[in-house]
Amino acid sequence: MSDLKTPLLDELEKGAWPSFVKDLKTMADKKPMVKDLLRQLEKSYTDKRGYWKHGGLVGVMGYGGGVIGRYSALPDEFPGVSHFHTVRVNQPSGWFYTADALNELLDIWDEHGSGLLNMHGSTGDLVFLGTVTDELEPTFRALTAKDWDLGGSGSDLRTPSCCVGPARCQNACYDTLALTYDLTHKYQDELHRPMFNYKFKIKMSGCPNDCTAAIARSDLGIIGIWKDDIQVDQAAFAEYVDSGMDIQGAVVDKCPTKCISVEGKEIKIDNSDCVKCMHCINTLPKALKVGKERGAAIVLGAKAPIVEGALFGSVMVPFMKMDDFEELHDLIERIWEFWDEHGKNRERIGECVERVGLANFIEGIGLEPIPQMIKEPRDNPYIFYEEYYEEE
């Protein structure tokens, strides 16, 4: 690596944390691509500007998404990264892999690409970083031969993703993994053949802790919730009291709706006032558990600020049973139908709803307006006065 001089990048190796620079250097002798990646990055640090160009037309036959085209703006100086496309690989639900499966993926990528990858990209996919156009079809063939598939990109359904849910978490109110698997298969066309105005992300969280951040990062968030009472184990609660924990300060005072009280070593929750923020359950996991009547709340329209400002999801359905997913499929298809009909190019569904108005949207997808259709938690309830006018 004698010809590799990267004084600025070297600074990044000095901190306490693992450094991607160190990682890349271990690959630089094996892959000319990685060496030029480091060299180009060093130059962009020196010049304080990026040298990547977005590539318009790369992909694999039949699919309109899954590959992000990337070219160096300085191909003569850095021939190794003259092409440096990213391949999104659809992750297994909850990101569970066997060691064999991982080895399979790594072998494919060592053979066809830079050998560099992300576990995982923000959307959820496993991300293969850097290959040339001619290697895209062979990579795709190698992946599909082992039953892997590409994820979404472009104006399509992005790879659905979920929290680990019932596989590892006692808070799960429905099977997030099963739903992710179901949606990924049911909407193959929407995932691989862009037919939308813009991207559409679906994220599944098993409970209101919302570990996938669905409320902020997905066009459609499916967030587990319960309808009945928080389950209480009073003996376990008494143990928390005996341990000397500051129950008043850590739990009672922090309940946003002040619906918890403690008498002696007993906890009382006025569930009719509980807004299911999860705080008490997170703080006293041995004593408190989510209720038994479980399902999910459906929120719609979150996005990060790209074309317009950031949006949070609005509640569309406060509670939906998640036994089979048909009611949800039906809702998703009505939402897409409306978006097809009324959406503009590069307008996310949340922006479309803001433009046409929530009332029109709700009517358009055939939902009944209800007070739970809030814009943000405990803020701006939408109230529909039409019926009052009609009565007068």
Binding site: L57, G64, Y71, G154, S155, R193, M195, N197
Partner: protein, 83 residues
């Protein structure tokens, strides 16, 4: 549910639209679908249009592009990707 108008015919007409607008306007999947449904009304369904697009793409007559939104375009010319 291809009734009076076959999927092949829809695909051919879509191809015409793509070819005519090449270099001027990028057409999206929804543009092609809307063009067909407004021309033929109930005689073509959205599913027919999806099937026609699939046929165009899988046969290689058209490809997906991505530049300010996903579009359906004529196959790439060698070297054009890097412009």
């Amino acid at each position: 549910m291809a009734g009076e108008i076959s999927i092949e015919q829809i695909a051919d007409e879509m191809y015409q639209l793509v070819a005519e607008s090449a270099g001027q306007k990028k057409l999206k999947s929804t543009d092609l679908t809307k063009a067909m449904t407004s021309k033929y009304g109930d005689k073509v369904s959205k599913q027919d249009c999806k099937d026609a697009i699939k046929m165009l793409i899988d046969s290689g007559r058209c490809v997906y592009g991505y530049y300010g939104g996903s579009s359906i375009e004529l196959p790439r010319v060698e070297g054009s990707a890097n412009q």
